[in-house]
Structures are given as C-alpha cells and as structure tokens.
C-alpha cells in the first residue's frame, strides 16, 4: 500500500509558503504526565486568516490554543509569532488575546472597565482609551451597555463583551476558545455571522477552537481537523469535506458511507476497485492510495436512489430501503446493500412523487467523481460500518 497524501504534506500544500507575519508552531508537543495532549504538531497560520481547529473534546485543540496564549508551556517545540519566538514568554508579554469559553469577564467591573482593562495594563493614554472602548462597544453593538455589570447581561451579550475586551487591544492573533459553546442554536448562528463580519472588518488573524463542524466550515478560511493530538487534515472547508484525507475526517466532518474495498489497479484516469463482488471506478485524482485494501467513500447526499434505470457512467449498488425519515428539505433513507451493510442516503425532496417507503427495492447510484478512496488503516476500521 502506498500513501499518496499524508496530512503533514497537506499542511504545506494548503497554506503555501509561510508568510512572515503569521503564527507558526514547530514540532510542538505537550504532555501532562503520561498523557500526550499535543503530539509533534507543526502548523502555520497565515496573517489575517480565519483559522479553525476542529476536533472532538480531548483531541488537544484547546491545549494548542492555551500554548499559543501562554497559559500552558510546551513540553518541546517552538511557537513563533511574526518571526519572533514566543514559546517561553509569559501570557502578559504576548501580543495575543483570548476570548475564553467561560468569557471570564471581571464581575466587579463595568462593561467599559472590562473592555478598557487591557489598554490600561499596556499604559495607553487615558484620552485614547475612552474612544477606543466606545468604538469597540459600538462594533459589537453594545454601545449603551457600558455602565452595566457583566451579571446584568445575557449570555450572547457577555460573549460580545469578551470579544470586545480582546479585540480592542488589536492583538496579532485573536484566540477563540469555543466562544459560542454556551449559546443556544439560534444565537450561535447569529454570532457566527457576526464574528465573521468583525474578522473581515478588522482583518486580524483569528484562531478558533471548536468541536462544531458546521461552525468551523461556515466561518473559517482554513480548517485543521485534530485527532489524538495530531492534525488529521488541513485545508479549505470544501477541500476537507469533498476529499477527506482519512476515514476519521470523512466521518467527523459530516457523514460518509465507507465500503471496504480492494484496489485492482489503474484503468485509464480511474482506479478500479472491487467491493463485495462488484467493480467500481474512482478517479485517480480522488484516491489517497493506489494499491492494497482501501475504503471507498461516498457522502450520503451524493448517492441517488432510483427505482428505474441507472444513467450512463455511474457506479451502482442494488438495495432495499429499511428506513425512511422525512425531514422537510430532504428525506433520509437507510438502504441495505446485498452484503448486509446499511448505506445512508440524503435525497432532496425536489421531485413530484412522495418519498419511497421502507421495503422498496431500489438502486443506488453515484458519479465516480463524487466518490473518494482512502487508506484502510487499522485505526479507522471502527468507523466503517461492518456487515
């Protein structure tokens, strides 16, 4: 088995040559006793980008953020910001500010005093602080709340104060530690748009830690998917979604149907694979491996379900509908393939007929360009539905 793409190679491919102003982590490792939270992480975040670190809890994304903020010290490796080494600097010496998950607003100060805190510590002249604070409160639409205390504000308002308190200092990098986690869904969507707007407006580098894949995809220019202290894949949201680097990414970011397959070899611009006795084609450009065992992946919304004929040039699998749930914009089907595994299908409700009922014999088909081929490593096997 030869691996064409590995995540580390993808890092430099996605971000290009390092820009001088960016944030760079070089071979950073952080251990807590025997536990390795961040494992030999190398990462470059270009200046002015909106970068998301995406992963499940415990994957090391918050530890990475805290090391950039100076709240944790790396066990080994180095962190540079704009070319200067900040690895061992105290938090208060770094031109970096954080929006904490808990907001950590000072309860004994007014909103104005909270926002002014950083500038006061940096000994900015008083005559400059006042207008800067006021302008920042206007930016986060809290201009009339300056004299209130944090406890008198709603969660969403407190979140915006935390953002203003960090942004007013014009840090070289703004770190956001799951800042929207405590908000309800509607407010979260609203704040996502708001944050993106502010980032475009002020043009600072944002590093956003989140476990919400939708949040990462809608807001960030570049997403790094972290797993077990390492980066699994890094790239633009569409890139990661359309062509995941590993089975973990394929199922962490959205959902994928993964079929256990054996690679037969190239046939023209495609690679021919065999899965459960059937032959399928995958474009060579969408293959992470060229030989040996592999996973053939297709996203549920890329699968079409039909009771009629399969169009020319598509891969097809017969099946029986076992479950159908109507969710308005689409219908989600579970279709049992001949080898016993169930495949998920999201079909848009754009036709004139009603949804298909469970028990119906159907054919699933997809365009080869919608499928991808991944290395079948041991760790990923638990993510693949076994017959």
């Amino acid at each position: 088995m030869s691996v064409v793409h590995n995540p580390v190679a993808a890092v430099s491919a996605a971000t290009g040559t390092p820009s001088p102003g960016g944030l760079a982590l070089t071979r950073v490792t952080k251990r807590f006793g025997a536990f390795t939270a961040v494992d030999d992480l190398t990462l470059h975040i270009p200046e002015g980008s909106f970068f998301a670190l995406l992963g499940a809890s415990g994957c090391g994304k918050t530890t990475t953020l805290r090391m950039v903020a100076g709240l944790e010290e790396p066990t080994s490796g180095s962190i540079t910001l704009g070319g200067s080494d900040i690895t061992r600097m105290r938090p208060y010496q770094r031109p970096v500010n954080t929006v904490f998950q808990s907001y950590a607003l000072f309860p004994h100060m007014t909103i104005e005093q909270n926002v002014a805190f950083g500038m006061q510590q940096r000994k900015v002249r008083r005559s400059e602080i006042r207008p800067a604070v006021q302008a920042m409160l206007e930016l986060v639409q809290l201009a009339d709340y300056g004299h209130r205390r944090p406890a008198q504000l709603s969660g969403g308002q407190q979140q915006r104060v935390a953002l203003a308190r960090a942004l007013v200092n014009h840090p070289q990098v703004l770190l956001l530690d799951e800042p929207l986690g405590a908000l309800d869904l509607k407010l979260r969507r609203q704040m996502q748009i708001e944050l993106k707007r502010i980032q475009t407006e002020v043009g600072l580098t944002f590093v956003h830690v989140t476990h919400d894949q939708e949040e990462a995809m809608t807001m960030a220019d570049t997403v790094a998917v972290m797993h077990a202290g390492r980066i699994e894949q890094l790239g633009a949201p569409t890139e990661i979604y359309e062509f995941p680097a590993s089975a973990f990414v394929a199922n962490f970011l959205g959902q994928s149907n993964l079929l256990t397959a054996q690679i037969h070899g190239p046939s023209g611009a495609d690679i021919a694979v065999e899965a459960y006795g059937s032959r399928f084609a995958v474009p060579a450009a969408r293959s992470r491996v060229t030989s040996g065992p592999a996973y053939l992946g297709v996203r549920p919304e890329k699968l079409h379900v039909t009771t009629g004929a399969v169009p020319e040039g598509h891969n097809a699998v017969p099946g029986v509908i076992t479950d159908s749930s109507y969710v308005g914009v689409s219908t989600q089907y579970l279709v049992r393939a001949p080898w016993g595994a169930e495949l998920a299908v999201f079909a848009p409700n754009s036709g004139t007929g009603g949804p298909l009922q469970p028990g119906a014999d159907v054919t699933l088909f997809w365009h080869p360009a919608h499928s991808f081929l991944l290395a079948a490593d041991g760790e990923a096997s638990s993510l693949v539905e076994q017959p």
């Binding site: 105290r90 208060y92 954080t98 904490f100 309860p107 004994h108 805190f117 960090a166």
Partner: protein
C-alpha cells in the same frame, strides 16, 4: 431551558408540568413566622431583654449597691463620668484592636490565599490546622502565651542573645504582648472569611487578566484583591469587634499600663460593683463600635459580607 424540555430525557413522551402551587388565600402565610419563632423567642429572652435591662441600669444612681438596691434617677451623667475617667482605656482598646486587626490581615491574607488557591490536596488539612486551636480553651491558649513570652522563656533567652535586648528588657506585660495575644487569638476569625472569599475566586479570571497584559502584581491588585474584599471586610469585623471588647489578653499578658476597656468593665461589674458606670461603659463601647463599623462598611462599599 425550553431546549431542555423539548429534547429532554423523556424523548417523545409528553412533558407534564408539575401542578401549580396552591395560590393566594390557601397558602399557609404563617409558616415562615412559625419557623422564626424558636430563634425569635431565644433572642428575645436572652438578648433583647438583657440589653433592655442593661440600658436601664446605665441610668441608675451609682450610690446604690447590690445589697441596698439601685434607684432609677435617669442619671445621664453616668455616661460622661465613665467616658471622662476611662478615656485612655477606650483609646487604648481601639488602638490595640486596630493594630491586632491589621496584623491579622497581614498574616491571614497570605495564609488564606495559599490555602484557597495553592492548597491542592493539602487544603483541608491546612484548614483543620487553622481551626485546631479552638479545641483548646481560649484561656488555656492565652496562658500558654504567658509562658512563651515569660522573662525566663526560650523566646526571651533567644532575644537576649541579640544586641537589641538588654538583660532588663521584657516582652511579657508590654503592649506588644497584649497585641500579639490578640493577634494570635483572633487570627482564625480573619482567615476563615478570607478563605471563603478567595475560595470562590474563579482562577480563569486570573488567566484572563494575564492574557490582557496584567503582570501577577497587577492581576492581584485589580482582580484578586477587589474580589476578596467581602472577605477582608468580614474578617476585619470578626477580628476588630471582639478584640476591642477583649480583656483576657490584657489581663494575662499585660500590666496595669495596658488595661483595656474590657478590663475596666469587668472590674467595675465584679470587683468595684459599680453597675451603672459599668453598664454605661458597655454601652459606649457598643455604640462606638457600631459607628465605626457602619462607617467602615459604608466606605468599603461591599453589599455582602463574606
């Protein structure tokens, strides 16, 4: 909240709100009063009534005695007499208890800070160590200090080896001994409110202060100290008030030159038997402390104590 209800653990079974509490007239309005009753009766019998009796005894004619009885002559002069005669002792009490309170704060704050924020798994053990002296009587502990500071105790032996202490210098029976005794005895009353206050401090606020360019000293002054102010106010009150009225420390560790107002009141009641003046002195002390405390709490601007 609504999201919790909608997707609650019950799933698709319908959520049934709890029955509305019976409203208005049917509510038993007298229940809270019933709950107040035992404590209220206790306070009435053993606090309000004695204070009333004490108040009336301040105006008795001091020429009476316990044997012959006292006459109520509305003699307001008892107050001015007491104040004039014992003004030095009043000032000394305030001075000693003020110094002891400041000393308790200076000793207690770092201690409470260490226990609350750096205690880790030793936290409970350290708290027990702070409270442990209470297992021994106040009197016995103060007597122990008398031994420690005595002219032939080891403390003096060591101090006499330094050039600052001559053979005739002593610690016992000095203002220092009285203030040291007060400080020692009331230190736990300072530490516990401070600990309670500092224990509530969210360490993430200190991280935020550091992230916002505040060095550790600035973080302490701008975040830790203001947020522990209720503990400072509570602790200083719990130290100053009893220390101002204390007479044990001055009695056992002091000399006639270090007499505090507590000693005067005690001897007026029990030795001189001048009950009207003793009562008047008690009231002056009480009123004085009340005024000081009111001003102090108002100036420090905390709504909650501890």
């Amino acid at each position: 909240m609504s999201a919790v209800l909608a997707t609650g653990p019950a799933g698709d079974t319908e959520y049934e709100p709890p029955a509305e509490p019976v409203a208005g007239a049917k509510r038993r309005w007298w229940v809270p009063y019933l709950q107040l009753l035992p404590g209220g009766v206790w306070l009435l019998l053993f606090f309000a009534v004695p204070v009333g009796l004490l108040a009336s005894s301040t105006l008795w004619d001091p020429s009476g005695s316990l044997e012959t009885g006292y006459e109520m002559t509305w003699r307001w002069q008892n107050f001015s007499d007491g104040l004039q005669t014992y003004a030095p002792q009043f000032w000394r009490s305030l001075e000693y208890s003020f110094i002891a309170t400041v000393a308790c704060l200076l000793l207690g704050y770092p201690l409470a800070y260490a226990i609350a924020l750096k205690g880790g798994r030793w936290r409970n053990l350290m708290l027990v160590a702070v409270i442990a002296p209470f297992f021994t009587s106040f009197l016995v502990r103060t007597l122990a200090w008398k031994t420690i500071l005595s002219d032939h105790g080891w403390v003096m032996d060591v101090l006499r080896m330094t050039p600052f202490f001559g053979p005739d210098d002593r610690l016992l029976a000095t203002p220092f001994a009285v203030v040291a005794g007060l400080t020692y005895n009331f230190l736990p009353f300072m530490v516990l409110p401070l600990y309670a206050s500092l224990g509530k401090l969210d360490p993430r606020l200190l991280e935020a202060a550091g992230d916002l360019y505040a060095n550790p000293i600035k973080s302490f002054l701008r975040v830790t100290l203001p947020l522990s102010l209720p503990g400072v106010v509570g602790g200083t009150l719990m130290t100053f008030i009893p220390a101002a009225g204390d007479y044990i420390n001055a009695e056992l560790l002091g000399s006639p030159a270090t007499t505090m107002i507590g000693n005067v009141i005690q001897s007026q009641y029990l030795r001189v038997n001048d009950i009207p003046v003793a009562a008047a002195l008690s009231f002056i002390l009480m009123a004085g402390i009340l005024v000081l405390v009111t001003v102090y709490v108002a100036v420090s601007g905390t709504d909650e104590v501890v």
